[in-house]
């Protein structure tokens, strides 16, 4: 059977064309409303970052009639945003790689095998989610622990920590993705002479790309937007992550609104970039129809 993927053309096959068009207009209007309610803070932050310093706190607030200025963007780059970004790209990038490797292996192990302790280990994975999200609470004990292990303030400190924090979720997501791959495919590959290693490293990833892409996105965002662990585990100024640079503008002497907003806006861009790349993979739906026919 050949399936025509009705979604690919963006056309919903309904009764008549009129209904389809009406829905589109309504959807556009809804989209606009949603855009404003969802993004008002971010829009306001963007506008703030483009104003001259003295206009930021003025009342009544100005959205259009303000003097445009790049001063805050210049200021944040003078204050180390470039370095912060470079470091965070390193941390987040390595977290993705390490997280995907460890996560895929573990997910395959959990999904396709049964072994003693499997349930316990998976419970640990599940427990890892509250442990990682709540790690801010145990921050000082964590700091002492890391220091005893000699793991603080190194270039790989945050990579290890961020991978560990986001690994439970990555494992779970990829396990779900592997679950959806029918066993018959792997059996067929074995019969064709593929080694187990080939299956795990080449075949499976291609078949569950959406899960891998989602995990990659979460690993990236988890590593990019994290603040408190970075603030405590890192001392050296040349190892600072981008969040530390952003928080600098909320300093002891007061908040530098322009700097805060400018740095936050710049920090959003790499995530959007990563999302653009991964987004397509996440919705590619490659597993459909792979077995039939």
């Amino acid at each position: 059977m050949i399936f025509k993927n009705t979604k690919k053309n963006g056309i919903k096959i309904t009764g008549n064309g009129d209904i389809k068009q009406g829905a589109s207009l309504l959807e556009l209007a809804l989209l606009l409303v949603l855009f404003f309610t969802n993004s008002t803070p971010i829009l306001w932050g963007l506008i703030t970052s483009l104003k001259t310093r003295r206009e930021i706190l003025v009342y009544p607030p100005r959205f259009i009639n303000f003097t445009f200025s790049w001063e805050h963007y210049q200021n944040v780059f003078d204050n180390g945003l470039g370095l912060g970004m470079r470091n965070s790209l390193l941390y987040a990038g390595c977290t993705i790689v390490l997280g995907l490797i460890l996560g895929l292996l573990a997910a395959y192990g959990f999904e396709r095998y049964s072994f003693p302790l499997k349930k316990i280990l998976f419970y640990i994975v599940i427990a890892g989610i509250p442990l990682s999200i709540g790690s801010a609470a145990m921050l000082i004990p964590n700091y002492l622990y890391m220091m005893n292990l000699g793991l603080t303030n190194k270039w790989y400190t945050l990579i290890l920590l961020y991978t560990a924090y986001n690994l439970p979720m990555a494992i779970w997501i990829m396990k779900g993705g592997i679950e959806a791959i029918p066993l018959e495919i792997e059996d067929a590959a074995r019969i064709d002479g593929c080694s187990r290693a080939y299956i795990i490293t080449r075949l499976i990833p291609r078949l569950c790309l959406p899960s891998i892409a989602s995990s990659a996105l979460f690993l990236f965002i988890g590593a990019w937007n994290e603040f408190i662990t970075a603030a405590v585990m890192i001392d050296s100024p040349n190892l600072r992550s981008i969040q530390l640079v952003i928080y600098y503008f909320r300093g002891f002497f007061g908040t530098d609104w322009g700097g805060l907003m400018a740095s936050a806006m710049v920090a959003v861009l790499p995530i959007l970039l990563v999302f653009s790349v991964l987004g397509k993979l996440m919705v590619s739906g490659l597993t459909q129809g792979a077995v039939k026919g």
């Binding site: 072994f115 709540g134 801010a136 609470a137 921050l139 439970p168 997501i173 965002i221 952003i246 999302f275």
Partner: protein, 290 residues
């Protein structure tokens, strides 16, 4: 031959080993050290001696802690629920579109999640400010009376729920969308051929098949909101009074304002246990098989 067979039988275990080692070393072991610390008096990190379960006893007998747990559960469940429902709607909507439109919707849904949590919350606090904020400025220009938020107990709770939900919609949207894309088209076509309408397709086919992403998102959102201390701290500071005094704020205060690390460790352990209870509940509700 023995080694090979051993390796094959336990290949699964070996595959999980590196990841599990990392998780255990970085996440699980500190839990034990926190547990250990919770039996001591540790003001300002000075070892004040073993106190047994005194830290726990003082927590259990403090009505403020009970209240705090209660209000945290309320706020967490409400915001996670709203976020899940909206994320589901977004995901279903995007699923029906492709190309630029889908991309735009996803982007709009993602923006609250990708912006630094502190900055987003700071912006909300500014926008919702009674006199100088955007919201009331608009309301006043349109002739309405301004909304009072941060001095009012109920308005603060509602606003906290909304902002926390706002922040996490993108997460559930992405998760559920990935799950939806994994649903076999063949099944959907077969169902429609059999005469099912859109709603029945949704409830009987799609939803059951995306059980895992829904479960995972719900768990992560609940954990995320329960343990979040940045948003409550910046948005309402636990006030007015104790209206929004969530447990993560109590924990933060105990450690970083009062410097009572022994008690804070005890509270961390309790918070972790409550989190586990949530997880177990969810897994049971959805009847998830490991």
């Amino acid at each position: 031959m023995n080694v090979k067979k051993l390796l094959h039988n336990y290949l699964g275990f070996l595959l999980t080993l590196p990841g599990m080692l990392l998780i255990i070393m970085i996440l699980v072991v500190p839990l034990f050290s926190t547990l250990y610390s919770s039996f001591f008096k540790l003001d300002h990190l000075q070892n004040g001696g073993y106190v047994g379960s005194a830290n726990y006893a003082s927590l259990f007998s403090d009505p403020a802690i009970w209240y705090s747990f209660g209000i945290t559960i309320l706020i967490t469940v409400a915001s996670a629920g709203i976020s899940m429902v909206l994320g589901l709607i977004f995901a279903l909507w995007i699923d029906r579109r492709t190309g630029m439109v889908a991309y735009l919707i996803q982007l709009i849904g993602l923006l609250p999640w990708v912006i630094s949590m502190m900055v987003g919350t700071v912006l909300w606090r500014w926008i919702l400010n009674g006199d100088t904020g955007l919201l009331n400025y608009f309301l006043r220009s349109l002739g309405f009376s301004p909304i009072i938020i941060f001095e009012s107990k109920t308005a603060s709770v509602v606003t906290l729920i909304i902002v926390m939900a706002w922040r996490t919609i993108g997460y559930s949207m992405v998760m559920i969308l990935a799950g939806l894309k994994g649903v076999d088209n063949g099944l959907l076509e077969a169902a429609r051929v059999d005469g099912a309408n859109t709603w029945q397709v949704l409830t009987h086919i799609k939803l059951p098949l995306i059980k895992t992403p829904i479960l995972l998102s719900t768990i992560v959102l609940t954990m995320s909101n329960f343990n979040n201390n940045t948003v409550p701290l910046i948005l309402t500071g636990g006030g007015p009074g104790t209206a929004t005094n969530v447990i993560s704020l109590e924990l933060y205060r105990m450690g970083f304002t009062y410097y009572k690390f022994g008690q804070a460790s005890a509270l961390s352990v309790l918070v972790f246990l409550v989190n586990i209870v949530f997880v177990v509940l969810y897994v049971r509700m959805i009847k998830y098989d490991i």
